[in-house]
């Protein structure tokens, strides 16, 4: 069977996320419990987590999480890293042997910072340099796959049910201020670890439930800006779009949501002039970044968390708040299992972003 990247594989899913806006760090146990409630929304062919604030001791270094198929490719790849980065620390990512998770690749973690000389020569900013190195590994080193590349954050994913994946990676031993989780229901994957979600680039990590109909329009547009959609999954292209609009074009998160889940023209027509002009501009300027078809996404990044539904709200997504905590999940039950008492709970409208900014002072 063809795996992700060789063929386009749609999937249905469950997502869950939680964030403490005060920046207080909490352990990964809760996110496992939450996603486990939605067991039936996954089919055992993929699960994963993104965790923010988990590497405070290395917070100034890019944490590269990498799957290797063989020791040989690991050596080649490490040589590449050494040519481009100062590697401050490297190790296998700690895992737990369990019968539910099999066929694991070699899973390594590198804390790196770009070599100053290489960075200067490249004439790129630091984050673009790192992103390009990630693309090079993922496209040119067969059997190596960088699946996490942000600072003070990490993605953990595997083939299996998400709650098993969480225990496999000992997620309960990490503490962070934000976690997102994904349970996957792909329709025809052979089960490749790299194909599981979240999908991440730099500190952007996206979990997504849906199947977008605009995929190839989005893919072909974003590939023009130097991105390579190696996995051919919705989540990958959404991540690149968010990265492009946020990091490269400098749009704010509300502006990004007005691009990818743009209000209908008929809605824009009725708005006050200033707002109307801005939205008309965004729709024309970033027309190829409009995403249609069902999606509910959680976008984790160094500044917080954004949740967004497609503009028709074709996928379920519920938000709950309690104190400094905000919970977002495909089903309310997945929130109630962690926080039975909530101050508020609601289902955001289609195209209406829920944006939580974290106070990093803490």
């Amino acid at each position: 069977m063809l795996r992700e990247g060789q063929v386009r594989i749609p999937s249905g899913c469950a997502i869950s996320g939680m964030i403490d806006k005060s920046g207080r760090r909490f352990c990964g146990e809760d996110i496992i419990k939450s996603i486990a409630v939605m067991h039936d929304r996954s089919n055992g062919l993929g699960g994963g987590f993104a965790a923010y604030g988990i590497y405070p001791q290395y917070k100034d270094y890019y944490a590269l999480h990498v799957f290797f198929d063989s020791t040989a490719v690991r050596r080649d790849c490490e040589a590449f890293f050494e040519r481009h980065f100062d590697i401050i620390n490297l190790s296998k990512i700690p895992t737990r042997k369990m019968k539910e998770i099999t066929d694991e690749p070699y899973i390594w973690r590198y804390f790196v910072t770009p070599l100053p000389s290489k960075l200067t020569d490249s004439q790129l900013d630091e984050r673009e340099f790192v992103a390009r190195c990630v693309f090079r590994v993922n496209t040119q080193y067969d059997g190596a796959y960088v699946f996490s590349s942000g600072k003070n954050m990490g993605v953990f994913k595997a083939v299996g049910f998400p709650e098993d994946v969480g225990r496999f990676y000992r997620l309960e031993e990490y503490e962070g201020w934000c976690f997102t989780a994904h349970g996957r229901y792909p329709t025809n994957t052979p089960g490749w670890w790299g194909g599981a979600h979240p999908f991440a680039l730099l500190d952007y990590a996206v979990v997504h439930n849906g199947e977008i109909s605009s995929y190839d329009a989005n893919r072909r547009a974003i590939e023009m800006y130097g991105y390579k959609c190696t996995l051919q999954t919705d989540t990958e292209v959404i991540t690149y779009i968010v990265d492009y609009l946020h990091r490269k074009k400098g749009l704010t998160l509300p502006e990004i949501s007005s691009v990818i889940a743009a209000p209908f023209w008929q809605t824009i027509q009725r708005m006050p002039q200033a707002e109307r002009e801005t939205l008309e501009y965004l729709r024309v300027m970033f027309a190829p970044q409009l995403i249609t078809g069902p999606f509910s996404i959680l976008v984790g990044h160094e500044g917080g968390l954004m949740a967004l539904n497609d503009r028709l709200k074709l996928r379920s997504m519920v938000v709950g708040e309690q104190g400094n905590m905000t919970y977002i999940a495909s089903e309310e039950a997945a929130i109630r299992v962690i926080a039975p008492q909530l101050e508020s709970v609601w289902a955001p409208k289609g195209g209406e972003p829920v944006i939580v900014e974290v106070e990093h002072g803490n």
């Binding site: 109909s213 547009a221 078809g293 069902p294 074709l314």
Partner: protein, 501 residues
């Protein structure tokens, strides 16, 4: 009769039981096919004069007429077909270049017919356009690389001039002179009512139609007929015509007999003089010359109008398009080899150029590969025959399509391909007052509006089926297409996979 006699291609069949001798056919045929013999009280016809335009068939109140192939044939020969033989005879007789009209009718592949569309099942929902908003609005023009903000952080509208359309279809260039005043009025009024644009073609703009300026593309072609500052500023966009799909590499020739009255005034040439458009623009022998014309036109119009450059789809169309995308032009229009014409040398029409589907697919991909797709929008024409063709063209990467032949058919054209004779029985491709009055713009514009509204409904149905509710999410969305009966190379050029994959 003699060595130069060619048996008529068509035969007019009259059902004597149904004919009531009302003589409508006789009065309506400018080719004088039908005749009433009063001494015998019966209608007769001369098949040799018939061009198969169906005017008589359509107007006969008793359905007494039909036109069929005459069936006369030479000894069957797969190499020397009847058509080939007849054309040879005709040239041996006249010593002239063969002339034709409308698009290439020969049996080349029609790729639109070998492409199938997708629809949603189970994993994502289709969308019902009768219940949910379904957006067909498009904006044509260049998109800048970066956003700009003012000191308060508000985004500044730095978009170059755009064309806003209610749907991704426009009426393509057909000049006043090649088609009638009434045809132009029909197109202009329909464009206004539909919120789209029509195109003046190269014959200038009749003063009566300046009021439709917001829905007009004014064309600048190699003859520069009717071009002046007010003309350039009157439209919503300016099109530089470099080529035409029906006659790539060939200029135009409107005979002096058609340069009468308003046409002479609109074209700004003396009555009775031939209007000859040179094959190239004689101030454009290279891409850098084109850039100068683009900027001249922008300067004249205060940088307020997008500039379109129209080319014929020829073998190296990708490289040409790439050059245009860097020339300052806002939009590229590509005309495929099936594109229509009011008069073109037969051999050129039938042998020069490439199919629009392949040209579009390769240009769109090439501009993306070079990272300059945002510099320009792409319009394609050259036989867009239905809403399905529109959807397939957009999914291949077009921003918009041009329709010419389809629009004329809504006005009555029955594709007899005799425009060059100037005796269009439907009042379209003629300047004879007795014929042009046959096209009442009240009816013509209504039929154009009907056609476009029907297409718009169908486009929305197809988009909804794919789970797409905005045209921009269809644009370049080639995973929604599959080829059927295409070889590897064709699939590669189209950038699509085969059905079943």
């Amino acid at each position: 009769m003699g060595i130069n006699w060619i048996y008529p291609e068509h035969e007019v069949v009259r059902n004597r039981d149904r004919c009531i001798n009302c003589r409508v056919c006789e009065r309506q045929c400018a080719n004088e096919v039908h005749e009433y013999l009063s001494e015998h009280d019966k209608m007769v016809c001369d098949d040799a004069k018939c061009v198969n335009c169906h005017r008589c068939v359509s107007l006969c109140p008793t359905r007494a007429l039909k036109i069929i192939p005459s069936g006369n044939t030479y000894r069957p020969n797969s190499n020397w077909t009847n058509r080939t033989i007849n054309e040879l005879y005709r040239q041996a007789d006249t010593g002239g270049v063969l002339l034709s009209s409308m698009g290439c009718p020969q049996r080349y592949p029609v790729y639109f017919e070998k492409i199938l569309l997708n629809a949603s099942q189970v994993t994502n929902p289709s969308i019902d356009p009768l219940r949910e908003p379904m957006e067909s609005k498009v904006s044509l023009g260049a998109r800048p690389r970066d956003i700009q903000r003012d000191e308060n952080g508000r985004m500044i509208n730095n978009l170059p001039p755009q064309i806003s359309l209610s749907m991704p279809v426009m009426f393509s260039a057909m000049s006043y002179g090649s088609i009638s005043y009434n045809a132009h009025e029909s197109l202009a009024r329909a464009a206004q009512e539909l919120g789209i644009l029509y195109n003046t073609g190269e014959g200038g703009l009749h003063e009566d139609f300046y009021e439709y300026g917001a829905n007009t593309i004014v064309q600048v072609a190699s003859g520069r007929f009717g071009v002046h500052s007010a003309y350039l500023n009157s439209g919503a966009a300016i099109e530089i015509k470099m080529g035409q799909g029906a006659k790539p590499g060939i200029g135009g020739h409107l005979p002096g007999t058609k340069i009468v009255g308003d046409i002479s005034r609109t074209r700004m040439i003396p009555e009775g003089s031939d209007a000859i458009s040179p094959a190239p623009h004689h101030d454009i022998y290279s891409i850098e010359d084109l850039r100068q014309l683009v900027y001249s036109l922008k300067t004249v119009t205060g940088h307020k109008k997008p500039v379109i450059v129209k080319i014929a789809a020829v073998h190296n169309v990708t490289a040409i398009a790439s050059g245009i995308a860097r020339s300052g032009a806002d939009i590229i229009a590509i005309d495929g080899f099936r594109g229509g014409s009011g008069a073109t040398p037969t051999r050129i029409r039938d042998n020069v150029g490439i199919p629009i589907e392949l040209a579009l697919a390769s240009v769109d991909q090439r501009l993306r590969d070079e990272g300059i797709r945002d510099n320009v929008s792409i319009i394609v024409g050259g036989s867009i025959r239905s809403s399905a063709d529109v959807v397939k063209a957009v999914a291949l990467g077009a921003d918009c399509v041009y329709i010419g032949t389809s629009a004329l058919m809504a006005l009555g054209c029955h594709l007899c391909r005799s425009c060059h004779a100037g005796k269009c029985n439907w009042g379209i491709a003629t300047q004879e007052p007795q014929l042009t009055r046959r096209l009442n713009p009240d009816i013509g514009h209504r039929r154009l509006v009907n056609l476009m509204n029907a297409w718009r409904h169908e486009i929305k149905e197809m988009m909804g089926g794919m789970g797409i509710n905005s045209i921009e999410s269809l644009k370049g969305n080639r995973s929604m297409l599959r080829g059927i009966g295409l070889n590897e190379k064709e699939l590669e050029i189209l950038g699509i996979r085969h059905a079943g994959e």
